[in-house]
Amino acid sequence: MTTYLLRGVRPLGADPVDLLLADGVIADVGPDLAADGAVIVDGAGLVALPGLVDLHAHLREPGREDAETVASGTRAAAAGGFTAVHAMANTSPVADTAGVVEQVWRLGREAGWVDVHPVGAVTVGIAGERLAELGAMADSAARVRVFSDDGHCVSDAVLMRRALEYVKASDGVIAQHAQEPRPTEGAQMHEGDVSSVLGLAGWPAVAEEAIIARDVLLAQHVGSRLHVCHVSTAGSVEILRWAKGRGVDVTAEVTPHHLLLTDELVRTYDPRYKVNPPLRSDADVQALRAGLADGTIDAVATDHAPHASEDKDCEWAAAAMGMTGLETALSAVVEAMVDTGLLDWAGVADRMSVRPARIGRLEHQGQPLTVGSPANLTLVDPVGRWQVDPAASASASRNTPFAGRTLHGRVIATFLRGRATVLDGELTGP
C-alpha cells in the first residue's frame, strides 16, 4: 500500500506540519518527517481536515440509476472531500429492510470512494403507517444507526414516539424530515413576500417549526435521541436552542444551500432552485449561520439530491425538488461561514466531520489528525477559486444551484483509510 507524506499541511488551519499516512492510519505527525519511499504531497498552504462526513445524501440506487448511482454519487462525494456518506432511504425499493440496506452498503464497498452508510426507513415504504424492521437493519452488515423517512415527515405523533423509543435499543437515531403535511399540500416555495408576488403556493415556516417543536418534546418525554434534517428557518433554530437548553438530546443539520441561497432566486422560475425544504428568506439564512456557528445546529449535511434533466428542464410546478451538493458543500460553507468569520477551520472540521460522525455513530470517521487515527482526511486550498461547471460534475446529474458561480476553497486531495481518492485536485482510481 502506498504511503503518503503530506508535506507542510496545516491541520485544522494550524501551523504547518508533516503528516505520514501509512497502513491506513496517520503513522506520524511532526516537522520535516523523512520520506522513506513515501509519495510526497506538497501541502504548502493547504488546510488538512478530517475527511468530511455527510449525514444526508440521495444516491438514488436502487431505482433511479439514471439520476445517480452509488458509484457516481460517491465519486462526487470524494471529489467534495468526503470520506463517509449516509445514503438516504427513499430509493426504489425503499431501504426499509436488511436486504436493501445491505445491498446499498455493498455497492458502496465495491465502489470504494467513500464509506457508504445506508439510512434505514422509519416506516415501511416510507408510507408513514407502520414501523419498518429497524432492529434487523441495525443488526445487518450495514449496521444502520440513522433512520429516516426523509422526503416524508413521520407526521403521526404516536408513530414518531414509538420510533424514537424503539431505536434506543440499538443506539439509533431518528432523523426527522420536519414538514407538517397539511399546511404544505401543493406547496412550491417559501411562503413570504416573494411567493405572494410569484403566485406560487406557499410553504410556511410554521409547518417545519411545529414538527420540530413537537418532536423535541416527544424526544424529551421518552428520553430518546432525535436528529432534525435540513433545518431551514429562523424559528426552527430558536426551538432547537431552547430544547438544547432544556437538555433534550437533539441534534440538527443544515444544508449548504440554505446557508447561502434565498427565495429571491425563485423569481427566475428556474427549477434548479426548487428544493425541499424551500429556499427561505435572508433573515432565515442569517439565523441558520448563527445557529451553526454557536453549535445549536450540529452539522452541515448536503441533502445531495440528483435529478435527471427531464425532471428539471420544465416549468416550476412540474419540476422535482432537490439540488446536488456533494462537490460544492465545502466551498459553500467556506463562503457562508469561514469568509464571514463565523467559523474557523476547526469549526468547519467539527460541523462537517466530527459531529456528523458522532451522530451517525461512525467510529472511524471524524477523528483528530493525530498519530494512530484512521487516515481519513482531506486537503483544502483555502484560497483556491473554482467555477462550477455542471458538465464537469462527477455526479450523474447536473442540477446544481451554483452553476457558473465561482466558489472559494478547493479540495486538492482526499484520503480514505490512507488511500488517495483525490490527488492534485483530480479523482484517482478507487
Binding site: D193, V194, S196, L198, L200, A201, E315, A317, A318
Partner: protein
Amino acid sequence: MRHLLSAADLDRDAALRVLDTAEQMAATQQREIKKLPTLRGRTVVNLFFEDSTRTRISFEAAAKRLSADVINFSAKGSSVSKGESLKDTALTLEAMGADAVVVRHGASGGAHRLATSGWINGSVVNAGDGTHEHPTQALLDAFTMRHHLVGQREPGAATGEDLAGRKVTIVGDVLHSRVARSNVLLLHTLGAEVTLVAPPTLLPVGVQTWPCATSYDLDSALEGADAVMMLRVQVERMNAAYFPSAREYSRRYGLDARRLRLMAEHTIVMHPGPMNRGLEISADAADSARSTIVEQVSNGVSVRMAVLYLLLAGSDDVDGGTA
C-alpha cells in the same frame, strides 16, 4: 419590448405606449373594414394549456385583425400536463416558425419559463399563468378605467394620460388571482391608488409588501372608489375552509344593490369574467349602467392588438424602446 410576461415588465412610459396604441387600435375597430395589413406574414400561436375560450378568441381576433396567421394549439386534455411536454411543445412551435406565442398555462411561471428557457426564439405573451399574472387583462382594465375616469368616455381623449390619483378597489380571491396581481402592479405604475378587499384567508402572506392598501371591510372600501373590480370566486374554495359558505361570502364580499348605492355617481363596476352571478356580484350590479363588463371584452381586443403590434411590428434586432 421582447416579451410581455408580467405587468412589472412595463414602466409608466411603456404602459402608456400600450394604452395609447390601443386607443388607435380601438379607433380602427369602429370602421367598416377592421382588418389591417400590419402583421402580414407573421405567425402567432395561441398555446392554451387551460380552457379559456374568451381569452383565446380575444387574442385570436386581435392577431387576425392585424393580418397575422394564427395557429390555435390547445394542449388541454391531452397528456400535456407534465413539464417535459411544455418543452417539447415549445420546440414544435419553434420548428413551425412562430413569431409570437400567446401562452395560457396552469403553472405560475409557465410563460416565464417558455420565454427564458432557450426553447424558442419568438416573443412570449403571458395570457395567464397559474395564480401569478395576466398582464393583458390588467392592460385592458386600465384602458377601460382611463377611458371612463380620465377621458370621460370620449374616444382617444385620455391619450398620454395615466391614472394618477384614481382610486380602485379590487374585491375577492386575491390569493389565487392572477388578475389582481397584474392589476396591482400596473395600476400602481400608472399612479392609481389600489385597495384590495378580501376575507383575511384570501389575501396572501406577504401582501403587505405590495404597492397597495388592504381591507377586510367592503362597505368602507367602496367609499371614494372610482372603480370597483370584482374578482371571480370559485365555490370550491369553500371546501378548503377559505370561507364558510357561499351565502356568507356573498353577504360580506359580494356586490349587490345596496352596495351599488354606496358608490359615487361616476364609479364604474368591473369584472374580468366569467362571473358567478349571485356570489361575488348580483345581477343588479352586473347589468347596471355603471358596469363596464361587456366593454372590457371589446377593449381586450384593442389592447391585445396593441401588444401584438408593439411586440411584432418592429425589427427583430432593434429594441423598440419599451420593456
